[in-house]
Symmetry: C2
Subunit: 331 residues, 2 copies
């Protein structure tokens, strides 16, 4: 398949041709070969005019919070309303294990076989930045193929929440009704990112869920006082919703809150601003990663790095002097 | 003064000669001239064997928490015990205002005139990284001059707490007995950095201070469960101390806790490990900053950056493709 055929397949192919073209495109994007990368960049640029029309929804939560069940319930609910739903994932552990658990089709048995759904597991190798880049690019492919809701999920450990927040229009945090669970989220700076907090498995202990809801609401109000400028009371006060995804309870009120936020974002122009800031930040994130990689791979730097680093650690060379010396070798 | 004379003055000068040499050294470190920087690096490297023997104490807290009063009370207490105390500062606002408020001698009227104290305000220009670098280097000068307690203070806004945590042996957070104050600290990730929390101005509302102490202690315990590996219960449970620096109450128990932590750090070898990690992280922080600066100043990059950035923001070019294109120009 040529890049032109892939492009045509994604944008105007029949259902089966589209899936084949999407698979080809994503394989191309994930390839490490330089010529593939050149083709992938050309393809992405050509896809770009067909992208941007989906609602990009980020979902995070610790293992056990019920993300798969939640996404399956939400996805089926949306498909019943006529939406087409793509599910992508960023698994921060995949770069270590070489295998990915998130987005695994077996976890969403009904959604994964539906013709209006597209599920892609996390890219399984590379740095978090590299994994996030491939997911971000796969999102563009899904949008060009007409998926109008793109869900990007991640697990609530590590820095991957920031990456997902940086590529979605709305970031949703799934919590268990546990004491201390919210404190962990505040500490990691994830609560601050949340546009919406869902207390899942609320049916197991309704009293705990109600207490958790009150506590998180109060925390969000206090954080908002000096916090996320997108969450000034004039614009949006992050909502806290109780749910039992397993029993399908709360999915409709969740989607109502998402839609309300989306209408606000569109009406006041913050959607465009958020996406522009994300694109800019993403460009710089990739530039930083590229600069650092080149630096480490530079022959003279590579030769000196170990001994210089040892001199710093052993207290024979000031750290800032060492940095200047290594930078001089990099030309 | 030649660098050799400065070195000799710092390490073995009389009191007056030492102050002159320290001032010269710090002026050299803060100079932007390339030849001064070369001399400064040589001087730092020569000073290094005389450094590292102080207790490096980081102090952070929002404006109004009473940092100056606290440091004045602590400094005089330590000098009475025979210590020599240096006070340095990192003011994240100084790069904007061009003037520095922190470390201002007029704020510590008794300490600043004492012959066993050395007070240096925050460097007043440059990026936070640049300001932090100069403070870190000034700390080495103070240590070589025999100051055995170096206090680095910063104001609890912005990212400067991380910088101070990254150059001290113990990081202390000053809090007011206010509801929500601790939540702000948790949110910003500062509470997690704290080895010790001081509730200052406890005399104004003793009940509020007692409530704050209970709440912060419980938060620290919950954070510690998944938090800072240096704070495993096996090693150190961060302490919360009530104080009224204005009335000199609590200074002795504060110092007792600091000393206890220091003894532990020394006994189990974590002091050396922490300093090695700090030196390594600092080297990489400076390399990153240097790479980014070079990239922005590269003629071809500078020429293309604006139009490429605009294409990204306007949705004509994928962010990752733009990053690759700009990196190709940087050779």
């Amino acid at each position: 398949m040529t890049p032109e055929q892939i492009l045509a397949g994604i944008v105007q192919g029949t259902s089966a041709a589209q899936r084949r073209a999407m698979a080809k495109a994503i394989t191309l994007l994930e390839s490490t070969r330089a010529d593939h990368r050149t083709q992938a960049d050309a393809l992405l640029t050509a896809l770009l005019p067909h992208t941007g029309r989906s609602l990009r929804l980020g979902i995070s939560g610790v293992p056990g919070v019920g993300k798969s069940t939640f996404i399956e319930a939400l996805g089926l609910h949306l498909i019943a309303q006529g939406h087409r739903v793509a599910v992508l994932a960023i698994d921060p552990s995949s770069s270590v294990s070489g295998g990915s658990i998130l987005g695994d089709k077996t976890r969403m048995e009904h959604l994964s076989v539906h013709e209006s759904a597209y599920i892609r597991p996390s890219p399984s190798s590379g740095t978090l930045g590299g994994v996030a880049e491939k997911t971000r690019e796969a999102m563009l492919v899904c949008e060009a193929a007409g998926y109008d809701v793109v869900i990007v999920e991640t697990v609530g450990v590590g820095q991957s929440e920031t990456a997902v927040h940086g590529m979605t229009d709305m970031f949703c945090l799934l919590q268990l009704p546990n004491a201390g669970d919210d404190l962990q989220a505040i500490k990691k700076g994830v609560m601050e990112l949340a546009d919406l907090v869902v207390i899942n498995k609320a049916d197991i202990d309704p009293d705990a869920a109600t207490r958790a809801r009150a506590q998180i609401t109060s925390s969000l109000r206090l954080l908002g006082m000096h916090g996320n400028p997108e969450h000034g009371s004039a614009f949006w006060q992050p909502q806290v919703i109780q749910m039992s995804a397993l029993h399908g309870q709360g999915v409709d009120s969740f989607w109502a809150a998402v839609s309300q936020y989306r209408d606000l974002q569109t009406a006041n122009g913050r959607l465009g601003v958020r996406r522009q800031q994300q694109a800019r930040a993403w460009m710089w994130e990739r530039i930083d990663a590229g600069l650092k990689q080149r630096f480490r791979e530079h022959p003279k730097v590579r030769e000196a790095l170990e001994s210089t680093g040892r001199a710093v650690i052993e207290g024979r060379l000031p750290a800032s002097t060492a940095a200047r010396q290594l930078l001089e070798l990099f030309d």
